[in-house]
């Protein structure tokens, strides 16, 4: 079960020998799947991919995630790419320190390259290894490039001392990383400085589905490391990467979105990128963040999402959500693969398939919305799409600010609904924690702004907060996946329900 099929072993070996990035390798051939039974699709697909092994470009992205090829969210030009909001150039920090920074130099002379997400991640790892001697990259099958190719060529480039395989033991991989990270000093804030070469540990768990044996190490050890030692020790140098979410054929054990289970792990951060450009910047932030970070990579995007990615060293901020499209009538909060489904659902709202039942449904619901809000017949709702990016601790202030404007909130994710991120956000939005009327005599305190935002957002709600997540089945059932994952039409339905409420 947990072996790569012999076929994929063969193809990857071949591609490695010719030192070509096997861009066209099939999804399935990267998988730890049962190679004997019911894998006709995979065996049928593999020869095709072999035959196109000399192609220079990734396969049509639409082949993997239909909505992504038409996505306006991906940066297809250098100019768009370099103007990414919140991007922080590593050398700009240096310039700033030298007092030589200027706005024009921010993008001048910078290059971008077309990359898919695994290439962007590989790029980030390479930068981390080249800029930090303490950095090590390790995990199951990491040395040959990883089953998703994210560490391709790194062992050759940086040596097996720094990029290496581990035996099949997730709790061991994370425990090892914790020990290694505990010997470093990310901030120079502890007496550990100079005690050794420990520090930056970048561990890979092959699938998020297999992170559970390491849950104890993450929850009881990594998240509590600083707190339990009175700030004397920390494992800020630890980053645990793992592929997450569904791809259409992963079944119960190659499709999970476990981020919800980490919501109570104060001390830990959880980050999920939506695209190659985002993945590179967020991963470098995660690696350099002074806190342990679980970095979950939506695996359907490894090849599907292609973007112009800046080639130099840059970071994107953790703990900050991003507004992808601004709107005034409804806020959609999501992350990872679901970003593209939400984008598509919003598109369906304004462009339903002509003459279809969906068109009539949309028309009716929007009629109700116009009547309810007093809008004129020609107006159509404008939707604010928010990518959460950091799941823990997430950016509630941004969600509240958006909600104060739109008064309607929909949260979408693949993971199970109960106990999930969506319910957490919904709960935070309606939670009374800071709704207590504050004493006007009292001086403005740190939380005053939050209190005001919470109040405005809650009292302004014009519909219940809606969460569209995976069902609470024990997992993503193989042949039923289409009806498990919140797809475009389910999201559309949620939009309509909230607008017409």
């Amino acid at each position: 079960m947990r072996n790569i099929s012999p076929l994929s072993r063969l193809t990857t070996t071949t591609t490695r020998r010719t030192s070509q990035i096997p861009r066209t390798q099939s999804w399935l051939s990267d998988w730890r799947h049962i190679s004997s039974s019911s894998s006709t699709r995979s065996t049928a697909a593999a020869p095709n991919t072999d035959s196109t092994a000399s192609a220079l470009e990734p396969p049509p992205a639409g082949g993997h995630l239909p909505s992504i090829s038409s996505s306006a969210l991906l940066k297809h030009t250098r100019e768009q790419s370099l103007k990414t909001p919140g991007i922080l150039w590593a050398d700009a920090e240096l310039d700033e320190a030298r007092g030589t920074s200027s706005l024009s130099s921010a993008t001048a002379g910078r290059e971008t390259r077309k990359m898919n997400m695994y290439q962007a991640i590989r790029d980030a790892l390479s930068i981390a290894l080249s800029t930090d001697d303490s950095a090590i990259v390790f995990g199951e099958d990491v040395a040959f490039g990883g089953v998703f190719r994210c560490t391709l060529g790194l062992a050759e480039e940086y040596g097996r001392e720094r990029v290496f395989n581990t035996p099949l033991t997730e709790q061991g991989v994370v425990g090892f990383g914790i020990g290694y990270a505990s010997m470093g000093s990310k901030l120079g804030d502890s007496t550990l400085g100079g005690r050794g070469m420990g520090g930056t540990a970048i561990a890979e768990i092959q699938f998020a589905d297999y992170i559970w044996p390491a849950f104890d190490q993450l929850l009881n050890e990594a998240s509590k490391f600083r707190y339990r030692s009175g700030g004397q020790f920390n494992v800020g140098g630890l980053t645990v990467r793992c592929p997450t979410m569904a791809v259409g054929h992963g079944g119960l054990y190659h499709s999970q979105s476990p981020e919800g289970f980490f919501m109570g792990a104060g001390g830990l951060k959880v980050v999920i990128p939506r695209s190659p450009l985002q993945a590179k910047g967020l991963l470098l932030s995660a690696i350099r963040d002074p806190n342990p970070v679980v970095f979950m990579e939506p695996k359907i995007l490894y090849r599907s999402a292609v973007e112009q990615v800046p080639t130099s060293d840059y970071t994107l901020p953790l703990g900050r959500a991003e507004i992808l499209t601004t709107g005034s009538d409804l806020t959609v909060v999501t992350y990872g693969t679901s970003v593209y489904r939400c984008e598509q659902a919003i598109h369906l709202l304004t462009h339903p398939p002509q003459g279809s039942g969906i068109e009539r449904t949309v028309k009716d619901a929007l009629g109700d919305w116009r009547r309810g809000t007093g809008k004129n017949v020609s107006s159509s709702p404008s939707i604010e799409l928010v990518d959460l990016r950091t799941i823990l601790p997430y950016d509630l202030p941004l969600v509240l600010r958006s909600l104060s404007k739109t008064h309607r909130l929909l949260i979408v994710h693949e993971g199970p609904t109960t106990g999930g991120v969506g319910m957490q956000i919904a709960g935070d939005v309606v939670s009374g924690l800071a709704l207590t009327t504050s004493n006007p005599q009292e001086k403005i305190s740190i939380g005053e702004d939050m209190r005001r935002m919470r109040k405005e957002a809650f009292l302004g709600l014009e519909a219940p907060v809606k969460v569209i997540g995976g069902w609470d089945t024990p997992g993503v059932a193989l042949q039923y996946e289409k009806f498990y994952i919140p797809d475009e039409v389910r999201i559309l339905d949620g939009l309509l329900e909230l607008l017409a409420y």
Binding site: G179, G198, R226, P397
Partner: protein
């Protein structure tokens, strides 16, 4: 001397790929196993299933060197230091155990019966070897000069507790200065971490003379993390001395119900790790074995396993009454027949380094030292209440922590004076929690 008892069976995978031209089927693809024509099952690492792994010992129960024993070089000052540190443990345990019984501290774990294992190991390590303990290794910290005041401060969780600022239960010590990683209650989590710590040491030229020393009980060795840790330290060669304290009990479960094989030592060979079993009640044997283990560790850059056989004379913790599952007479017999302190004291006396007067003086002094530290710690306040919300994240503080701190401050301001349970508790904190209320002003 050690070699005679160390295991000769060391399955070292050579990863020698058989030449493609070899047509012979004399070797199997992933092993150098000789081919045999008879089915041969085995269930022993000694090669003889009727014989258990030998245990290394230097002094018999009366402190007399056994036949063939080569004692480590030992002067009187060092021997006295060993003994005094061993004696400090029960003296400290007696007082803290009673202090817990009086309700002054919440919990305690004694080291009765394991004094030789703990002090012998501590003495064999260098002061900057990184120690990852389980929870019963306070003696290592004391050996390194952590001091009784720090021990008391941690157990009371007062404002002088730098180990965890009063956040952890008693005996969860930690001190970067003493290269002692903070104890956590989950068992065996420290074992894979030790491999990572040791790998960091291996990668650091300035730490090339340091090892990681990882302690755990035979019960913890049943956890998956034990296997993960030994596996990683052997496949990713890392200088860790694994020290199994086999004291016969995991709370109430005797080791006979913990494993069916030959103790913990038999597992070392399975991971290709040099292993030795030692009489954990013989401080000189522990000292010698751990010294040799440490040496091998550095020479080979690889992990070594030492299994110390002892007997947990005390209860598991203050939450446990072991006479519910073992006879008082069994424990008393053990203490009388095989007492690590008596054994070493008799040895010291035979050298003319110790007598009953020295014993009395030592006990009086230790008791006075412990009581002094106790009396100081007992009256200290806790940290400020605001520390409940610090050390969670480095860098920017998330909104939820900020907001929750505000919420607690608001509640304290509103009810702190009137709600008795809070009022009483607040008085125990430094500045009586005014720090939190102050933040709002």
């Amino acid at each position: 001397m050690l070699r005679s008892v160390s295991l000769t069976f060391r399955p070292r995978l050579l990863h020698r790929v058989a030449s493609l031209s070899t047509r012979s089927l004399g070797r199997l693809p992933n092993t150098q196993s000789p081919i045999v024509s008879k089915p041969h099952f085995f269930n022993s690492v000694t090669g003889d299933s009727s014989e258990q792994i030998p245990a290394f010992r230097l002094l018999d129960g009366t402190g007399v060197p056994i036949d063939g024993a080569e004692l480590p070089e030992l002067d009187e000052a060092f021997a006295r230091r060993l003994y005094e540190n061993m004696q400090l443990l029960p003296n400290l345990d007696n007082i803290l155990y009673n202090v817990q019984r009086q309700g002054k501290i919440s919990f305690y774990m004694t080291a009765y019966g394991e004094e030789a294992t703990i002090i012998g190991s501590a003495a064999a390590l260098a002061h900057d070897d990184e120690v990852l303990g389980q929870y019963r290794e306070m003696g290592v910290l004391l050996w390194r000069g952590f001091g009784l005041d720090n021990v008391m401060a941690q157990c009371f969780g007062n404002h002088e507790d730098t180990s965890s600022k009063g956040r952890q239960m008693p005996v969860h010590f930690g001190s970067p200065k003493h290269h002692f990683h903070t104890i956590s209650s989950p068992l065996a989590t420290q074992i894979p971490q030790a491999a990572g710590v040791a790998y960091a040491l291996r990668r650091s030229p300035e730490r090339s003379n340091s090892v990681a020393a990882c302690f755990f009980g035979e019960g913890a060795a049943s956890e998956g993390d034990f296997h993960a840790g030994l596996l990683l330290a052997s496949t990713i060669p890392s200088p860790v001395v694994f020290i199994a304290r086999n004291n016969g009990f995991a709370i109430s479960t005797p080791s006979s119900e913990q494993y069916y094989g030959d103790g913990i030592a038999s597992r070392g060979a399975g991971y290709g790790i040099d292993t030795i079993r030692v009489d954990g009640n013989d401080v000189l044997a522990v000292l010698t074995a751990v010294r040799e283990a440490r040496k091998r560790c550095l020479e080979q850059g690889r992990a070594v396993l030492v299994e110390c056989m002892s007997y947990r004379v005390g209860h598991h913790s203050t939450s446990d009454d072991s006479f519910a599952y073992r006879a008082r007479s069994e424990v008393e017999d053990r203490k009388r027949i095989d007492n690590p302190l008596v054994r070493f004291r008799l040895f010291m006396e035979s050298r003319g380094w110790w007598d009953s007067q020295a014993e009395e003086e030592l006990k009086t002094r230790l008791r006075a030292d412990v009581l002094k530290a106790f009396k100081h710690a007992e009256v200290q306040s806790r940290w400020e209440l605001s520390e409940i919300f610090t050390d969670i994240y480095a860098g920017e503080e998330p909104w939820n922590i900020r907001e929750q701190r505000e919420e607690l401050s608001r509640l304290l301001e509103k009810y702190g004076e009137d709600w008795e349970p809070w009022k009483r508790e607040l008085q125990k904190f430094k500045t009586e929690s005014k720090d939190l209320v102050k933040n709002r002003e």
